[in-house]
Symmetry: none
Subunit: 179 residues, 4 copies
DNA sequence: CCATAAGCGAGACGGTACGTCACGTCTTTGG
DNA sequence: CCAAAGACGTGACGTACCGTCTCGCTTATGG
């Protein structure tokens, strides 16, 4: 429950920070994004940033989660192969070409050696959720965790390992998944 | 060509650094490993560390690459399903349970936002190479890049995304891969 | 001119602030007394503190001035040496052992580098006034400023310079003053 | 014992800091002197300032102690009244008109509420020492502490309490001291 | 009796200095 | 020429307090 007393949180400041972190990620890269830099870019005091977020990972997550979910939502058409293909295409595009995707890759990277970031991501499994949503209406397979790892894995590995998305064929991957 | 004059590089210092980085990775985690800390732990001057390596990623890569290759080498038995299962089991163990695996996950994470680390990893694709070696003698599939992504991907995603190795069944994954 | 309309100033808040600053001075020392700390200790909003006082020096002065005057008032007995001795004893005790004295020393210290505090103290010369009062009825000396400096000075210096009150002998000082 | 290895301390940095603190004291006043400001003014890193001094009080003390001692040294002439008068004149001038004197007043002020500053000053009692030196050759009085307090006190109080040096007559004070 | 006015608490805001840490470089002694 | 030691400038860290600002609520006075 939010307090009713005291000066209310500035929506302007909140948005400025989220936009700033997004801009900075693109301009200077994740490693060079700093809390100080975010504050200055947003025209907000450092204290205000710390008041609402503990780490740059938290800000980045809040800034990209909504985009990510939207990007990975695929409307059902009844055509299973088509839906999976569309989903994989969206996934490839998200991870390889969007700001939110770059943020997401950076966060997963940080999570490998920062438990707090790992916990942050564990709270909302955007990739897994999107895959499970698509799979729930596409297959009789009831172990959705397992199935989602098999669906996402090849794309995820190809992009995260640095070989890039160019040789990925979503339709072929979808076909093999259903085989 | 290496210079013949002057004091030769100290082999003692080199090994001390590599051991130090390995120890520190276990003790304090990747994020808390610093060049300063490595130098102090190794009993070596900071300048000496910088003389031979640019970043902690380089040291870590050098320190863990050999371990990684050994860990992922699977002797051929002629049994395709068995070999793939053994390989996936080794891969799961490597990524989830070994020091070298933790280092490798950290490096892949860094590579998402640090081009120098990305290039470092691109120079020696340990995961892909190991998979291709196993696949070359196991399947008629000639697109080994594609096949390796499909083989490694599910395991890689499951572990990197934080859901852990516990629910992974290497034999089931190998069977589905061959289907 | 004070306004007649609106909510009147809270006497409760005023007293709470003065008590808080007194308590804090004893507990954490002058340097660690902050406007924020005073407000919290008094159970009063920071705004309210700022509404009535500009600095912690002002609050401290208001909180200790009355105590100081009382502490340094010496009733005349007709015995000049006795009165001066009594006064010097009171002065030693005030500066070295009382809360108000500690506050006063702190304020004089601040006044050395803060013109506003200097002006605050200039408005009411508590030490000088008390000495002049005693001297006016004790000596034919008509330059009371001069005489008060000679009377107070040795005690003041001994305590302010950190050597402490232990070796001060008020009667001996009084005798020498009258010589 | 100082280490012989490693880069030696920069004399240039040391002097720049001492000059900076002196300049700043005059320009902005003690309260507004900050470690950050000193570093910037000296063209030196903050880290370097902290490496050699803990507080601005320490820097100020080091910067002004030598000046202070020089300022308060009075050559003996054999004329007791004359020497004391000269000394008191020098004391008045030091406390009221010199940079080092302003620094010294500020430090004594801080010492009233900062135990570390108090200890710093206790280590070298510049005022007391100078008075004792003059008194040792001027009077048969063997309690030099006591005598120095009586000598310095009136001047010290007059200046510290804010009434200023204008009405002080060193010869008259010396005469009364000897009476 | 209700409108106006000021005081009150709470708490967010933009600032600025704090003292610490690691960075990568530079400068010395000594092998 | 290399190694060690360690000081250097740089710049981000997270915290504290500064003094100001909005809020909604509480008292008072006076039409």
């Amino acid at each position: 429950m939010e307090s009713k007393v005291g000066r209310p949180r500035s929506e302007r400041a909140r948005e400025a920070v989220l936009h700033a972190v997004d801009d900075l990620l693109v301009e200077v890269g994740y490693a060079a994004v700093t809390m100080k830099g975010i504050a200055e870019r947003a025209g907000v005091s450092r204290q205000t940033v710390y008041r609402w977020w503990s780490t740059k990972a938290e800000i980045l997550f809040e800034a990209s989660a909504a985009d990510a979910e939207e990007e990975l939502a695929v409307p059902p058409t009844g055509d299973t192969l088509g839906d999976l293909t569309t989903y994989l295409q969206a996934l490839i595009n998200f991870l390889a070409n969007t700001h939110a995707g770059a943020a997401y890759r950076a966060l997963i990277g940080e999570a490998q050696h920062d438990p707090e970031v790992a916990q942050l991501l564990a709270g909302k499994d955007i990739l897994g959720d999107s895959a499970r949503t698509v799979l729930a209406r596409a297959t009789p397979d009831h172990d959705l965790d397992d199935a989602s790892a098999r669906l996402i894995g090849p794309v995820f590995f190809a992009i995260m390992s640095g070989r890039g998305p160019s040789r990925l064929d979503p339709q072929e991957l979808a076909r093999r998944f259903l085989a």
